[in-house]
């Protein structure tokens, strides 16, 4: 038996290039305006989706507690899920790494002699770069979600977890279709564009022998895979081809069927402001005897890829509460400026900053947790109340810790540590914890303020440098007190 030879995620390199990506994308006016427009739209949608602040807050608390319960019981729920799925006839596979997941899927397809795959939207399959893996093995993989389809034609990856092609405007899509679809009638009318995309993809649904999808909730109690979507391509992928393979992260399991309605309600409203998505698809078995359609085989691949690392730490574990609604990125002022591709990771925005370090290691992602003002807009909207800024702070701590310090919580601990910076903070602490040292340094600062540099790196590229005051507040209050004492003495 041969072991799997692990391939490095292609996102390691692109995440490392974060700074360069940012420079590239900040300078792209069209991209910036596409994102600003999209984020304004999505924020607005969400705002209108809740009847009251009260409802929103109770639902958030409820969903947080549901997810925390499910995580508290995670290993047992996974076993229960597996047992019930198998009982229902759905085969379960486990993968620790992205290559394991890809290879399992590749072989499942090969066993059925599958040649052509249609895919519903699945961020986990983006995480494993499944399309690349299968294409190298001569299996054609077609993305069928309109956004994903656009992104695939453009040879890009999604810039948003809910709206993959949000970085493109309709003119850009029209050009893309013109370059790629035979017989395309040029138009920038969105309806016309969608209809032409529909035609191409309908043919593929009809012909494909394999459907691949993600999973929004996997219900342990019943052995049910739930998919949330608007287009119907998810239903197509899971209904028409002979073989359906679903792939998801281990954190997607929930305990009860009754946990679904609140989570679903908060998911769609947080994501796009919809009371519910057009389709909510619950799959509990392959085609049964006598049924006229549906896949003969259904498989579920459960992927770890760093999730169990997050699980092992009480604080970082909260990251796994995520239901992938995208609200944190919609409200993120940094995401709005740099867009989704600059992150270089599968999951952009605040959620990406939290989970990518577990998937790719801190060496590749050390710039992500620092690329935040900690403004808290993400945490404020997160439907499952993940304390996102706090988790980013924690990741910063893990990143600047000495490499050897125990216990080791994360792959790549200490990757962001810089000895000069560490020393500066040490000195800073010495000065600020000692009143005498602090007074001395302030005395120096005010005395030598003319020495304060006019240029302060990036700061002064768009701002003037702040100037220290001639006398500090400490000094002025001291002087004021002396004066009062004096006048009191004189009077006395």
């Amino acid at each position: 038996m041969k072991h799997i030879i692990e391939e490095e995620s292609k996102y390691v390199a692109s995440a490392k290039a974060f700074r360069a990506n940012v420079t590239r994308d900040l300078g792209n006016e069209e991209l910036r305006s596409n994102f600003r427009g999209a984020m304004d739209y999505l924020m607005d949608k969400r705002k209108g989706a809740f009847s009251s602040e009260d409802e929103l807050e109770v639902l958030r608390e409820q969903c947080k507690l549901i997810k925390q319960r499910c995580l508290a019981k995670l290993p047992h729920l996974l076993e229960q899920l597996e047992g019930n799925l198998e009982k229902n006839g759905i085969k379960v596979h486990w993968a620790e790494t992205i290559t394991e997941a890809n290879e399992i899927i590749a072989q499942l397809i090969a066993q059925k002699k599958g040649k052509s795959v249609v895919k519903g939207k699945s961020m986990v399959s983006e995480e494993t770069a499944l399309n690349d893996y299968l294409e190298e093995r001569n299996v054609e993989c077609l993305e069928s979600d309109m956004g994903e389809y656009i992104v695939q034609l453009a040879k890009e990856h999604p810039s948003h977890i809910i709206m993959p092609a949000i970085h493109q405007n309709k003119k850009q899509v029209a050009k893309l279709f013109a370059d790629n679809i035979d017989g395309f009638e040029y138009s920038t009318d969105v309806d016309t564009l969608i209809q032409q995309g529909r035609e191409v993809l309908r043919n593929k649904f009809c012909q494909a022998d394999v459907g691949i999808s993600g999973v929004n909730f996997a219900v342990a109690e019943t052995g049910t895979l739930c998919l949330v979507e608007n287009e119907g391509n998810g239903r197509m992928c899971t209904t028409i081809p002979d073989l359906h393979i679903a792939i998801t992260g281990i954190e997607k399991v929930i305990e009860h069927l009754a946990d679904v309605p609140p989570l679903l309600s908060l998911l769609t409203r947080s994501a796009t402001g919809q009371a519910i998505s057009t389709y909510f698809n619950m799959i509990s078995s392959p085609r049964k005897l006598g049924e006229k359609d549906g896949p003969e085989e259904v498989h579920l691949v459960l992927l770890d890829n760093g999730r169990s690392q997050a699980f092992a730490d009480e604080e970082l574990k909260q990251t796994l509460q995520c239901i992938r609604c995208g609200a944190c990125m919609n409200h993120c002022p940094v995401y709005t400026r740099i867009g989704g591709h600059a992150y270089g990771t599968v999951y952009p925005g605040p959620i990406g900053k939290m989970i990518s370090p577990h998937m790719l290691g801190l060496e590749a992602t050390t710039n992500l947790p620092t690329a935040s003002t900690l403004c808290g807009a993400c945490g404020e909207v997160c439907p499952v109340k993940i304390p996102i800024p706090k988790i980013l702070l924690r990741l910063r701590q893990e990143s600047v810790k000495p490499k050897s310090q125990q216990p080791q919580v994360m792959k790549g601990q200490g990757a962001g540590r810089n000895n000069v910076e560490a020393l500066i903070w040490k000195v800073w602490a010495q000065v600020h914890k000692s009143p005498t040292m602090y007074a001395l340094s302030m005395w120096g600062l005010t005395r030598f303020r003319f020495l304060m540099p006019k240029k302060l790196g990036g700061w002064t590229s768009v701002r003037t440098a702040p100037k220290p005051a001639a006398t500090t507040l400490h000094q002025r209050i001291n002087a004021k007190q002396k004066k009062t004492q004096q006048s009191q003495q004189e009077r006395g």
């Binding site: 003002t373 304390p387 706090k390 903070w425 602490a429 600020h432 009143p435 590229s461 003037t464 507040l473």
Partner: protein, 261 residues
Amino acid sequence: MQQLNTQHLRDYPKKPKQVYLFGTCIVDSFFPDTGMDAIELLEREGIEVIYPQGQSCCGQPAYNSGYKDEAKAVAMAQVKQFPLDIPVVVVSGSCGGMMRHHYLDLLGDDPEINNFCQRVFEFTEFLVHVLRLKPIDQGPKERVALHTSCAARREMGVHITGNKLISQLANVELVIHDYESECCGFGGTFAVKHADISAAMVADKSKNLLATDVVRYVSADHGCMMNINGALDYQKQSLRGEHIASYLLNRIKSNSSKGSL
């Protein structure tokens, strides 16, 4: 953590005779006028202000950079400077949030720390909820915008109290700018480590403030103002931000002709 803004749940004490002032390191070294104005405002309300000379910085810069031990040492040193059981008034929502909420995490939930955190009030929060200040506006008619720092807004609810104070000024019209709740892009070391993103953010913030056509905006945080004013100055715009302590003081002083810009 999202529900840090607990203004609505907080039991506010009666008006005290004495308070501590925590000046913050930025005010201390760059904007001492703000500290002096805050003291004068409190003294006018009959409160004795104690300013412990041993105070320095709340520890946030190190804390936000991931240097927890360093932040801890500095934070602990601050707690020791404020031993009396009287309110600690902080002239920054961001430092206030640090001292009121994050100290518990950083220093552990022990009775001394807890008592300290309970005593921390952001300046406008203190004016509205403890002093129940009703400022009598003596200044000329003017329009003004308000920028609330993100920590102040989300951890301390300062956008509500700041708004309330300004709205009580009879001759002042509060103008809400576009994307009012959006971050200005300061974020401490963020502005240095990711200077280009920060620059894009402050460019938008200053644009949105300029679009209101006010002559000044008010804020309760000098961190943001250092950022926004620095950008406005660089752009050679005359619009400036002023700390709400100075602004209020000027408005209620009868002979307020002194523009403290």
